[in-house]
Symmetry: C2
Subunit: 477 residues, 2 copies
């Protein structure tokens, strides 16, 4: 069992600059001079490793859980009581800088004092204990809490919002909303232009091949997401061609399906195709896709389940597109703490119970979200994401220049960054080494490593990561 904490603790972090400065040792080492400092008082000041991860206690618990359900996907077991800010603590006492944040679903870090305080206020207890059937018997403050939370960040032009309990219900009910609005024929289908991380929907699951295996699904057309070259600025012409090819295929599919008497009722797309491998496309691509949707009378659904909530530097990633005609529907979950979707007024269901289930979300999540919104505004966390993201991406590009055999296609918007490893095996190994050095990373696509830190991930966290990771790359065999 390696004791890494000493190694990590020995380094002296000093934070005196937001500009990342690399010192090159014969092209082999790359150490950031900028470093970690606590600027959020509840955050820890760095990783602290005591065992390999998963450690002995995690392994024991895995065995125990595996008796109850397939536990092979478990990374390790966590001590959430001890986890704070950007740091996830495991049951073996290891404290790791978390750049994955529960698959991008922890908005303002672990155990944020504002949220802990909220739970301690006696007037809030009832909301956590008495979960209502929101569609028929909402609490008196339901609309008010929606206004404080979701509607305070409603995408332009979308003034209707419906909450759901999870991401898959959000997309499914967003589909239903589009189908009900479309309603011209019995032959509906939806054009997917994405790989969603939706797991439930029998028709829309495409995140990992294993999710779809053996599952029946509807004959819904799937268009290719552009496969661009990075950095985007350097391959403008090639990328424009690739995007044109994909847009053409979208129109071809609509026509082809129409001939099969299957009308495409809607187009769904993620601003950054996340589970599919963090694939980006230009703002122009999305504007043209929106135009195609309008031209063919299709609803335009933007899936912001992973990109939403501020991590790209704007609250919704699709704000970057500057659409004249807003999206028709925008779905969300994860960092928003509740699932759900916004939509335009014209897509409003024309009768009660058309979009309905027992819980329709959870007011306790709206309560937490309203407080998260306060923190985001108070601490200017969108600008923070832009800034810290720039530090992170600049560092990744520098590492890519140094280690092109290990890092390619470094890309990102805000802190929503990623790069490609040469293959799945190297990717998996890099993630495992990083974890043992006190950094939690996640994979996506067939060889990408994605960054999904919380919104309180700051410049010094980026420097801290880059320092650790440059050592890893230097030593990588």
């Amino acid at each position: 069992m390696k004791i890494l904490s000493m190694l990590l603790r020995r380094r002296q972090w000093t934070c005196n600059s937001t500009f990342l400065f690399f010192v090159f040792f014969a092209g082999q080492r790359c150490i950031s001079q900028a470093a970690a400092k606590i600027d959020v008082d509840f955050d820890y000041d760095g990783p602290l490793m005591k065992t390999e991860v998963p450690g002995p206690r995690s392994r024991e618990l895995m065995k125990q859980l595996n008796g109850i359900q397939n536990a092979e996907a478990i990374h390790f077991f966590c001590n959430y009581e001890e986890s704070r800010g950007n740091y996830l603590v495991d049951v073996d006492g290891n404290r790791m800088l978390d750049l994955y944040s529960q698959i991008s679903s922890i908005p303002i870090g672990y155990s944020h004092p504002s949220l802990m305080k909220l739970l301690q206020q006696p007037q809030n207890l009832s909301t956590f204990v008495n979960r209502p059937a929101l569609g028929i018997l909402p609490p008196g403050n339901f609309a008010e809490k929606l206004k404080d939370s979701l509607l305070s960040v409603a995408p332009k032009g979308l003034n209707q919002v419906v909450t759901m309990s999870c991401g898959s219900c959000s997309n499914e009910n967003a589909f239903k909303t589009i189908f009900m609005w479309y309603r011209v024929s019995k032959y509906y289908c939806l054009l997917f232009d994405y790989f969603s991380n939706v797991s439930c929907c029998l028709a829309a699951t495409h995140s990992k091949a294993i999710h779809k295996l053996d599952i029946p699904s509807l004959d819904w057309p799937m268009a290719p997401f552009p496969r661009l070259r990075y950095p985007l600025e350097e391959f403008v012409k090639e990328n424009r061609q690739e995007e044109a090819r994909c847009l053409e295929e979208v129109e071809d599919l609509i026509v082809k399906y129409r001939k099969k008497k299957k009308v495409v009722a809607g187009i769904i797309v993620e601003p950054i195709q996340s589970e599919g491998g963090d694939n980006h496309a230009s703002d122009d691509f999305f504007r043209k896709l929106r135009d195609i949707a309008r031209k063919h009378g299709c609803g335009f659904l933007v899936d912001e389940i992973q990109t939403g909530g501020g991590c790209t530097g704007k609250f919704w990633a699709h704000e970057y597109w500057g659409l004249d005609d807003p999206a028709d529907v925008v779905s969300f979950s994860k960092k928003m703490m509740t699932g759900g979707f916004f939509h335009k007024e014209e897509l409003r269901p024309n009768a009660a119970y058309r979009i309905f289930n027992t819980w329709m979300g959870d007011p306790s999540k709206n309560l937490l979200l309203a407080e998260v919104m306060n923190v985001i505004k108070r601490e200017d966390l969108l600008n923070n994401a832009t800034h810290a993201g720039k530090v992170l991406l600049t560092g990744l590009l520098d590492l890519q220049a140094l280690y092109p055999h290990l890092i390619s296609r470094a890309r990102g918007r805000g802190t929503f960054c990623s790069f490609d490893a040469p293959n799945d095996a190297t990717r998996t190994k890099l993630i495992a080494i990083a974890r043992n050095k006190g950094v939690v990373l996640g994979g996506c696509g067939d060889r990408s490593i994605r960054f999904r830190p919380t919104l309180i991930f700051r410049d010094h966290h980026a420097h801290l990561f880059l320092n650790i990771f440059s050592d890893i790359l230097a030593d990588f065999k």
Copy 2:
């Protein structure tokens, strides 16, 4: 605006018997001599009405919410802070005996002291604030809490459990589990023998016709649920014939679909077909259905989303059947506070990520559920449901004898009772009148009124309801 509280308060409730005794006044009135007493100290002692329901404040909030989403299904707005035990308080200060309990999803009443206490314990705060991605990074006590809660009531023979965020995800992933286990052909489909209250699943939504309108779905066969005559004891022969007809159709469908090269991978059934109108079938029917599933190699999924959690007098309604070979999968949600499903070990997915999404449930719900289990055991609430249910059903049968033009097909198991009104209009009117007299009821099917009280609904609550309802029936025009 009617002031009903005086009227209701005037009656003297005395509880001296668990036996329901009716005094008949010329066949017109029917008053229970048994009556309400507080036996759970946090419960209120009766309804208290101040306005019509929905009252002026509710109407105002409806208008406000309707600007944000279609609010036409809203009954009224609630004051959950003031709601306690069996009593739901609305924003106009009306206190109603709640026999619907948020579509059967409040297990031990509103603001139960044990749950309120749980929220106040500092060591539990983190669980409500730090929601993990359970499939990869569960908390250290995850398996332990599953054992304290769900596994402590696992159906016989089903030692595997997976949690989900809501009812529709529970059924969808239960389907997926069966499909993955079946895996013999590309032509899967599932035989439905039920009307589910699942709203998300594009293929499985059948609760209200309005849910399905305009939504594409898979070609999955649907078998008829027996339409029995009640009381079951009086129509044994006719009912046996009806059940035989339905079972025959199930086998016919399996064969018919096989000929279409669509193999039936599983059969799904509710122990009491709930949203479809509280249709019962004999234990023998279900045993035979299970036999058919085994004979044709289909998975057998029992949907206990509405029937589970103790309201029928057993923790799972299908325990009444006395199956030799247990169900393969049992899905749950609502009263269980978390969605999910149990399954046999042989249906275990053979790889990681096959059943997966970001949240995979919510540990804060498992924490609440573990405490609910303690209360159920401590207060012997299953026996309570049997007993109070008997009082309720006996009373309904007596009312049926008195008012056959208004009440028919009174039926039930435990407190999971219902009766038919002559038509939808009368049903709707009866529910509205009852609400204004301080009793919340729900409808199901095309003319049924269903009872879905909490597990702390006791004999005296049944008497209280019966007194109020007999007055309503006597006065009904």
